[in-house]
Symmetry: C2
Subunit: 885 residues, 2 copies
């Protein structure tokens, strides 16, 4: 603050632009705001822009830091600027003969559309309106402009509710027996002006300021103030924009699109923002102001028609579009006005676009020589790519949203409601599309989830079982939809008064979390050839590997199709849930003797071996990281009395015995319980069976002349002795298989780093581990002490109170959990410099987390197959950013 | 190994001792073993020791590293040593006139009593036995010695089962119609010798080696080999003794205590090992060998009687005792033999003693000027002190142990069996002593636990609820007693066939985990004045503070009595379980509106304030760290349908509503759930009520002219924003109370560091926290990913397989969790150099963990009141060790 004071007299606050010359430039956004900087740039480019000037953000900041006072010198500078404007326009501010009218608009460095305020036609009063009438010979137009100005000024500057003015307007129309504003006469509008002024006097106790200079100063203050109105503050909070940037103020000569049929207004994109096609795209209205477009009374015409109606203007516009695109090297979104046959550009900015358009435009622009491949890569938001990888609801479709849950896995799905995994399987096998609706899912539901088009759960968060499995399968999934109440037994769910029966059709939107009544029309977005081109460039520039988490040959195939360079996490437990083996697994668990356990394992061995052969074949030549059994054993046993009864019958044992086994395996905190390598240490025979299945599969591949890179991963290691113990068993099995099959097996044995202690003692663990894979899901759970199944109880409050910025299960917490990752990598490589390091938590597909992984020196990330392109793009962007440094 | 080879010729392997001069010294234990070093030392002191020599451990190590061969030169050195021995004794090895007989004994650097082997009377054969007969004129004695030698040699050197010889001996006695060995004649014994030799021939295929030199070499090899027998290996594993130390071999001239009534043998302590009294203590047998004492055929006499029987010898022994104690500056445990009126010392070593004796001896020795105060402090094993702090079962009492569980909280308790907390309270209030027996305990049992003499649970580990609370209360507690089967409804428990009914008397031994039938006699160990003296010295030398974990004025009083310098952890939730408030707490939890919640809180406020006043008064002038509510709310609600019904009636609400609230609060992993500061953030009104209770109590103290040092501790912080959020609320409340009560409050606000992320980001957290208290229980749970309630499922296997050395909940894991603590302290003090740091987990009372806390620079440790002296002693020892460096 003191600094601002000191330099106040020396500071330039106002940047002028007119007649092809501007003080500012496009790269001065911080000082002039986006709008002001681009107006200056366009002026310098020789593009017709109504002359004006920008009061810089420095003035706004001073205003806030000094009790809402202007800095010394600003008023004088403003006067000079207005005099210059009078000179270049030949008009005079506040003059009753040839009045200069201006717009006063805010403009921040980061666009906050609609959040701050605008005043048009400033400079009008009872005297100057006469001048406008004279100049235009159009009293109705002049009084309409005057009326609008008083209304805007009253609202924006003096704080009177917009509706109060509207009521007077409505009353006037009623009085006159007309329906449209346009049907009011000049006289009516003149009366409205005085009624508006009366309202202002009543509400504020003061007269409407007739003096133009007074109006201008008040308007500038109002724009300054608008930076801190509630809407703007909220917007900045949501979009994480700093509160101390301040806004610039743009004062610009008014131009009117509503001065007759040789006038008009419009907006345009230099390319199609939906498809990216290289074609001008936009719409316009003849004899209208911007406001009228918004009001929606008249339907705008497509921009191509302007060619017929005003060929000169259209030609000029096309030239400007091309010039702007060449200059800005990106697709532009512009506003223009035609005043009595003269074209003015009011704004240009980088145009928003769909993912498809983003990809197509970027690739086209490289081909056109406008931008480099690296720039093309940097232009795509990785998260946006998701749109290209899943079916979506036709945006033209009108749908009835009946409930909203959490958007757990993107895409859309249509199907008949079913409430059980069994029924999902049955109906799906009969060719029906189904949506599996459950209170929550458990590993036993996997069969049904795989067969369903989509999954909807009433409980659970973004990392609940349904969500994780859904994303893994690339299957549309909405979770935690508290609005629905499921009655599984009677086969229906309710939302409010609505009852949806089993077999009724619904649609899920996994991208938004919406549940929609009936079947919506789905479209399969095109993965055009340009997308492929882009991904080729991505592969060229990225340095970090991208693998996929995949548990089945099918998933592995999807992963390969999406460009995965290996499997970073193959969860063997999902294989245990198959119908042909779940009861074998159960027999293994409830075995009373090691012999009984071995019998069950012996039967599981060939099944598991075939699983691996299937995956190895798809992944020929690529690394496959296989994680040994991880979840607590009770997950494989039934939970409810009814299920226990049923399973006991299948296993031909007493249900009492099974129940007692279930009880025995119950844990207070299963997340911190008997799972991961702890299982393997308690029952080495399980790990040995899995190792044997892996190595026998590898031996088979080798015999068939196929190469496979095997990485055996031991989960949940927290102490070097744990991996030491299991590594010994695994190596023994490998040696046995080598002997039996007379092959030489090459493989690596490594570990997940998912327990905080493992990260902290990574130097010790690297004595045994040949690779690390960070399991950041569990590392987040244990590092924060957050159970991801329970976090919904307090996370909303945490986000609301700003205690956490993001859900740490979605976006890696770099400060804390990331620090553990960093420590783990540093310590691990201190022991074993060549240690291969990756990540296989959900974060492996989240862009900011992928960038973090790159920065801390990981060799690869691994994510759901459907996120592989996203992770690759993020990795490429991280490399490119790094090179720029 | 190569080094051993190279220097082999230059190495001296044999250390001689005889006639007041020895090659070795007491400080050469590593080389000569404990026994050999002390024999040398005694010889140098002029104490009569049978002459002999020690073969060093270097020879043993060479033997193991070189395919069980002797190093070059050893055989020659051995021959020379034997020649020297012949010279000093005037006898000849293998001579039939005047044979030299020797004992061959192992002796390692670290005592492994009974683990390795001994051969006596070596040098006897059919010829030399004749010489012995001539010398002693006692054929029976000579043949008995011969018989014993052949038997020991056959067993130890040749590996024949001891029982095989015993069978022949038994057969002989039957044959002769006698009962005792001593009744066998010389002739019988002579026959036995040849039968033994025949057995040896049969079993080994070789003749018994008649040649004395051969015998000696074989015996030395056998002693070397005994280092690696199974018993010895197991012993070393249990006691964590390195396997590569090797053993020394002591060869010593035989002396005989069984050569008539002027001979004898005995053991003695230089002070009373039970009480520490300064009085010789021991026992002896006339005309006997050490073996006979062990055999238990004759009852030894107390050592005082020797004064009457052999006054000269007794006097000499007393002088030796005094000399040894002065020389070794510690209480000695000696073995002696009297051979025909001549006294020989066979061994001296530091005597084992009870805790009481250890304290008394240490203090006495300081007073006697023998040792310094620091040495006295270093002499006491902190863990041993526990014996002095709890009642114990009279060791003279014969008890019937019916089951064994885990020794969760030391001491002993006698009482009638009850199965519910309510009945425990009821009976206790009627003056009955009760033992509360439960499957496991929950916070609802606290009332009954407090009233019971002891607690016994069938389930749970050393850190289960019962164990933690039991230790906290200093109450005898046995947990995880799987042997018992409880039928609560019918009011009994069974152990095998035994049925113990409600009201039956049992005794618990919390130090051993034993459950005893009926009431055993208990003794209250005296905390003698010398214990107090010792603790005064401890306070003088320790630098780290020691506080106690205490939740009630009673516990606070106990803590002060044991010397606690403040409260390091006052758990406010325990106050919530009081009968007068639990339902208020429940009303607060189930409140549907903030108003309802506030009503309940308003009623809790005065109760909680009185709790704090009570504690502050006891702790006047000392710091009190109060932790805000920590456990998940569901712990305050009933769990079973029956209890829900009951509580709903009390609260006058629908049991269905209560049940649904209970369901709603259920968590998958409560340890990682909605608890700690997460509660306070969700319901700031709870934290505010607690803060208000604290500050109003403080204000009251101040008004009464009393000083109180208040530290408000926020639990489970993982992110700086959590403490920032709650600190603001707490400070607001403090300001309110300051205004209302017109006082100035001094207090600090800090946090538990118990979440790994908190340790990792301690620099950030110290921006807000004014102190840290490491909650190493939770830090261990989350750092390892071990649920302490579930760890029993795999910990036994982990300890057995050597994956973990100790239960990390008992002994702080310094490598991993300790590293987190270190990181936390370093980062915390980087932000706030003066940050006060303590520990309040269970580890705060465990000696090795306390030493760690000192080393990493903590200001204090806090532990259960009953462990305060242990923690203080550990802290003093850590300081003293540190000063020595």
């Amino acid at each position: 603050m003191r600094e601002v004071n000191k330099t106040a007299t020396a500071t330039k606050y106002i940047y002028f632009f007119a007649q092809g010359k501007a003080d500012g430039r496009a790269d001065m956004k911080e000082l002039l705001g986006g709008k002001g900087a681009n107006l200056a740039e366009m002026t310098n480019l020789g593009i017709p822009v109504p002359p004006g000037f920008t009061i810089s953000t420095v003035a706004c900041k001073y205003y806030y830091h000094n009790g809402e006072k202007w800095p010394q010198g600003l008023e004088e500078e403003l006067k000079q600027a207005m005099r210059r404007l009078e000179e270049v326009t030949g008009k005079k501010f506040g003059d009753k003969e040839n009045p200069l009218l201006v717009s006063v608009r805010s403009g921040a460095a980061i666009s906050m559309p609609g959040m701050m305020d605008t005043i048009l036609n400033l400079g009008l009063n009872d005297e100057t309106v006469q001048g406008l009438i004279k100049k235009t010979d159009n009293p109705r137009f002049a009084y309409d402009a005057y009326r609008r100005f008083v209304q805007m000024f009253g609202n924006v500057v003096l704080g009177i509710e917009h509706s109060e003015f509207e009521q007077l307007l409505e009353k006037k129309k009623k009085e006159k027996g007309v329906e449209l504003d346009t049907e009011l006469s000049a006289q009516d509008l003149k009366q409205l002006v005085s009624e508006f002024k009366k309202l202002i006097k009543e509400k504020t106790g003061k007269d409407f300021p007739e003096e133009a200079w007074e109006q201008l100063k008040m308007a500038v203050n109002a724009v300054f103030a608008s930076w801190n109105n509630k809407r703007a503050i909220t917007y900045r909070e949501i979009h994480k924009i700093p509160h101390d940037l301040g806004t610039a103020v743009n004062v610009q000569t008014m131009v009117f699109g509503n001065m007759g049929d040789n006038s008009g207004t419009g907006v345009g994109f230099t390319r199609n923002p939906s498809t990216g096609e290289k074609q001008f795209y936009g719409e316009f209205l003849i004899n209208a102001q911007g406001e009228d477009v918004v009001a929606g009374i008249r339907t705008p015409e497509p921009i191509e028609r302007l060619e017929k109606q005003m060929p000169q203007i259209y030609k000029q516009l096309c030239e400007i579009f091309e010039k702007l695109e060449k200059h800005y090297r990106d697709m532009q979104d512009v506003e223009f006005t035609i005043e009595e046959g003269t074209l003015y550009l009011l704004q240009t900015r980088t145009g928003k676009r769909t993912a498809l358009a983003a990809v197509n435009i970027a690739v086209d622009m490289v081909n056109e020589g406008l931008i480099s491949e690296q720039e093309a890569i940097m232009r795509i938001k990785p998260e946006q790519l998701d749109q290209l990888l899943h079916p979506m609801i036709d945006p033209n479709e009108k749908v009835q949203v009946i409930a909203k849950g959490l958007p757990a896995s993107p895409g859309a799905a249509v199907g008949k409601v079913v409430f059980s995994s069994d029924e999902a399987i049955e109906r799906a096998e009969n060719g029906e599309d189904v949506i599996l609706v459950r209170a929550e899912t458990s590993p036993e539901d996997i069969g049904g989830m795989a067969k369903a088009q989509g999954i909807l759960t009433a409980r659970g968060g973004m990392t609940s079982h349904a969500a994780v499995v859904g994303r893994g399968m690339g299957k549309c999934c909405v979770v935690g939809c508290n609005d629905i109440s499921i009655n599984e037994e009677e086969g229906y769910f309710t939302v409010g008064d609505l009852k949806i029966n089993k077999g009724d059709m619904i649609t899920l939107n996994g991208t938004t979390g919406e549940v929609i009544l009936g079947p919506a029309k789905l479209i399969k977005p095109q993965v055009a050839g340009k997308f492929k081109t882009l991904m080729e460039w991505v592969d060229k520039y990225k340095k970090m590997g991208v693998r996929a988490n995949a548990d089945t040959p099918h998933d592995a195939k999807v992963a390969r199709d999406f460009g995965a360079e290996g499997i970073g996490l193959c969860r063997t437990e999902h294989m245990f849930f198959g119908e042909d083996r779940i009861n074998l697994v159960r027999r293994m668990i409830i075995a009373d003797t090691p012999e009984e356990r071995q019998q069950a394992l012996d039967k599981l061995l060939p099944l598991q071996r075939d699983d691996f052969i299937g995956i190895f074949e798809v992944m020929e030549g690529f690394p496959v990281t296989i994680r040994l059994l991880d979840p607590p054993l009770h997950e494989f046993l039934p939970a409810s009395d009814e299920d226990i009864e049923k399973v006991a019958k299948e296993l031909e044992i007493e249900s009492r015995d099974l129940k007692s086994k279930v009880e025995q395996l119950k844990e207070f905190n299963p997340m911190l319980g008997h799972r991961g390598c702890r299982l393997g240490i308690s029952y080495p025979e399980i790990s040995r069976m899995q190792a044997r299945a892996i190595f026998e599969a590898q031996a088979e591949m080798i015999k068939n002349g196929k190469k496979v890179i095997v990485e055996v991963m031991i989960p949940l290691v927290g102490h070097v002795n744990e991996i030491r113990f299991l590594k010994k068993h695994i190596k023994e099995v490998a040696q046995e298989v080598e002997k039996e099959k007379a092959v030489k097996l090459e493989y690596a044995i490594g570990t997940m780093i998912e327990v905080p202690r493992a990260a902290i003692t990574a130097d010790r663990i690297a004595e045994e581990a040949e690779f690390f894979s960070f399991g950041t899901n569990d590392l987040t759970q244990m590092g924060f002490g957050f159970s991801r199944d329970d976090i919904a109880k307090f996370l909303p409050k945490y986000l609301e109170a700003g205690i956490l910025k993001d859900d740490p299960f979605m976006i890696l917490d770099q400060e804390g959990i990331g620090e553990l990752v960093k420590i783990g990598i540093e310590k691990g490589r201190k022991t074993r410099a060549e240690l291969k390091v990756g990540i296989c938590g959900e974060h492996g597909g989240e862009p900011s987390s992928v960038e973090f992984c790159y920065k801390v020196g990981m060799n690869y990330v691994s994510c759901s197959p459907y996120r592989v392109p996203i992770a690759k793009l993020s990795a490429a962007q991280a490399s490119i950013k790094d090179n720029k440094k």
